[in-house]
């Protein structure tokens, strides 16, 4: 989100950035985030956030969050957010930009007062999709070897113990949490982009 939106704004607005980034992005985009997991494990080993900050033994949640996982989550969430931002910026009607310029907006104001608000609904859609993908990727990452916690780990664990009830309960939980996350972003989106659906 922190990287995808600003980068998307730049790429959507400036041709130079678009030329610079689009070849890289077109190659990286079809690469499934899950395919990155082994690579991420190799690079980041199984370092956890707690270890990076010098805390060796801890039972807190940071002791279970691995850097490789964070990387993969970032990767999964990045593209929907980034691509939607680019799309939002590129699909602004010229008439809004020209009106703003004729009413005395400078480059900076044009960006803050016209380009960002008018692409906000599309950005939020990207955020919603990105959050969904990130959630899926987390679960997948937790299922892989090297993981020692998380609901994905729980699924694999209960599979090995043939505990179908826990397995199914976990799946229901994953669905519910995913839906809830999406719902929260939708709440924000509805408040800020009410004008879009009704625009004639």
């Amino acid at each position: 989100m922190l990287v995808g939106i600003p980068l998307g704004l730049l790429v959507g607005r400036f041709v130079l950035f678009r030329r610079l980034f689009s070849p890289i992005i077109e190659i990286l985009r079809p690469l499934c985030p899950i395919a990155w997991i082994p690579f991420a494990l190799a690079i980041f080993k199984t370092y956890t956030v707690a270890e990076v900050f010098g805390v060796r033994y801890t039972t807190s949640i940071f002791g279970h969050i691995q850097l490789g996982m964070l990387f993969v989550i970032f990767y999964g969430g990045f593209f929907p957010i980034f691509l939607n931002t680019v799309h939002g910026v590129k699909s602004i009607k010229d008439i809004f930009i020209e009106s703003a310029l004729l009413l005395g907006a400078n480059k900076n104001q044009l960006f803050r007062k016209v380009i960002v608000p008018s692409s906000l609904p599309t950005i939020l859609t990207g955020l919603r999709v990105g959050l969904g993908v990130a959630w899926m990727v987390i679960i997948a990452a937790e299922m892989l070897p090297g993981s020692d916690a998380g609901i994905g780990y729980l699924i694999m664990f209960s599979y090995e113990l043939a505990e179908m009830d826990i397995l199914i309960a976990s799946m229901i939980l994953i669905g519910a949490v995913g839906a809830l996350l999406s719902y929260f972003v939708k709440l924000i989106a509805d408040r800020t982009s009410f004008w879009q659906a009704k625009e004639r």
Partner: protein
């Protein structure tokens, strides 16, 4: 108030097959300060192109445009344009749309709302300050667009068929309101339309354009007394003679 001089401008676009299309060619006219100039011509004769050139949104391929004898380069700061299509910012309510130009000039919120309110009242939309564009009818949206343009306080107001999409009654009412504004606010106005009745009703002078390439072929000073009566003989005579001119242009094009 400012005067406007358009001197021998030409605008060519590169067409689909890399051929050059001349939108306007060798077009010159002078508009005195405080004048209400109407430009009438058939659809596609380059009227919109002309306005965009005057606003500084596009650059002429040749010739110059000057405001009060200053040649404009880049955006024309003295002018603002009311577009034919709805151009209000859909994410801003009426008062925030109208006060947009004041916000760009960093006018403090209280003061800019007070000023915006003045223009909202002027176009008869009091009570709709908090409404969003999608909640307004077409006529109301165009009024907001005019109020927004006026709040910028341009010395030169450019209007591109602003009432084209409205029904006749609303159009007539807005024409009268625009005339009142013009008389109160002392602005130089360039108004583009293909509606002859509209031009005869509003203009102090009418320029008639032909198409392919767009250029001015006739200039008519309208000295009918105001308020003008659409049913008076002089009004109808003028209307008919302009219609005949335009028909001649269209016949010549075929």
């Amino acid at each position: 108030m400012v005067s406007l001089r358009v001197d021998g401008i030409k605008k060519t676009f590169v067409g689909e097959h890399r051929d050059e299309v001349q939108a306007v060619s060798d077009l010159s006219f002078y508009c005195e300060e405080g004048e209400f100039l109407c430009i009438v011509g058939p659809t596609g004769c380059g009227k919109t192109t002309l306005l965009r050139l005057i606003a500084g949104l596009d650059k002429p391929s040749a010739g110059t445009i000057s405001v009060d004898d200053r040649i404009i380069e880049g955006l024309n700061d003295d002018a603002t344009l009311v577009f034919q299509q709805y151009s209000l910012f859909p994410w801003r309510n009426v008062i925030n749309n109208v006060s947009f130009s004041l916000e760009m000039r960093h006018v403090e919120k209280k003061k800019r709302f007070r000023e915006a309110q003045y223009y909202i009242d002027l176009v008869g939309l009091e009570g709709f300050e908090k409404a969003f564009p999608h909640e307004l009818s077409g006529g109301m949206q165009q009024r907001v667009a005019i109020a927004r343009a006026l709040a910028y306080n341009p010395k030169l107001l450019l209007l591109d068929e602003p009432f084209g999409a409205l029904d006749e009654r609303t159009r007539h009412r807005l024409q009268e309101e625009l005339l009142n504004l013009w008389q109160d606010q002392k602005k130089t106005i360039v108004f583009v339309t293909h509606n002859i009745d509209e031009a005869v009703f509003l203009a102090s002078r009418i320029l008639i354009m032909r198409d392919r390439p767009g250029s001015i072929i006739e200039e008519i000073a309208v000295d009918l007394p105001r308020p003008r009566d659409r049913r008076s003989k002089a009004f109808l005579d003028l209307h008919i003679s302009i219609r005949e001119m335009l028909e001649k242009i269209l016949a010549g094009a075929q």
